[in-house]
Symmetry: none
DNA sequence: TGCAAAATCACCCGAAAGTATTACCGGAAA
DNA sequence: TTTCCGGTAATACTTTCGGGTGATTTTGCA
């Protein structure tokens, strides 16, 4: 990258500044500034240079980035709980919860820890689930649960 | 949010500006500005207000937004074997077969009978599968297998 | 307010799952 | 030819799961 390209903004600002000063000098000469008009004159200059500063800041500063994370679900946004089947199986809220965690591959112990209950409780729930779903193993329960769209 | 809080920056800027103007007026009166010094005086004001503009811009500017979309992988309804993942996991044909039967909810004993091999063989295969898939249980293996579209 | 269902927990026991190690065979690759 | 890998299998052991039973506490609802 050349010197010119690297310092483009600064050079442009310098040129602009120079032009402004010329303009001001010209204005000053044209309408010889009376003392009582000095305040207004200074006010105008203050405004112009404030604007210049703002412009400069916008040009020179690298934009601050704020990262916004959007989670996008690719497939299977089409899961809708099969109310009919869910009702037919008559699984309680807790049982459904346990079934879901089973489907994630958690052991009874892990499920117990996650739900802050004892291992025995989870065993009771799972036994209930197997009975209601008429299956013998957790793998079958999960398989059936997914097939019937009771769990994602 | 109150009016004061909402417009804090603007009010602060207004106060700062007022103070500056007082200061300038005072300076002007103190060292009665001679005509030949007017340029220097204006230059100083220009510099000050340029700085003020820059400061203002920094304060007021909202950070640009950067959007990051994270794709969350989930189940797909239409099954097509994911060759890439299947190859990466490096499961043998027999292991894949066992994994599939696992996914159907069969016990090791049932899988053994179905494939006409011993229970121990199935255990060996399943251990291999778990190691390759880096999981601990058959349920996790099935879950991962479905998620990676290695099994329907 | 009282009852039925749900949720909780415990204990026992056998079955199934999983771990670790070893071993043998046959085909493919080095 | 030797080595490596997949498939098979066994032994021995540990952990987890699931069945059965009983009991207490919560809770939602009539």
């Amino acid at each position: 990258m050349s010197f010119l390209a690297r310092n483009k903004q600064i050079i442009l600002y310098g040129i602009a500044l120079a032009l402004f000063l010329f303009l001001l000098k010209w204005l000053e000469m044209r309408y010889v500034v009376a003392d009582e008009e000095l305040d207004v004159y200074i006010g105008i200059i203050a405004l112009i240079f404030t604007g210049l500063g703002i412009w400069l800041a916008y040009k020179l500063r690298k934009p601050a980035l704020q990262t916004v994370v959007i989670e996008k679900e690719v497939y299977r946004s089409d899961f809708t709980l099969n109310e009919t089947e869910a009702k037919r199986l008559n699984l309680s809220k807790r049982e459904l919860e346990v079934l879901q965690l089973m489907a994630e591959g958690l052991s009874n112990q892990e499920i117990a820890e996650k739900l802050f209950v004892s291992l025995n409780t989870i065993k009771t729930h799972s036994a209930q689930i197997f009975e209601k779903m008429e299956v013998k193993r957790r793998t079958q329960a999960v398989e059936m649960g997914k097939r019937l769209s009771i769990i994602p």
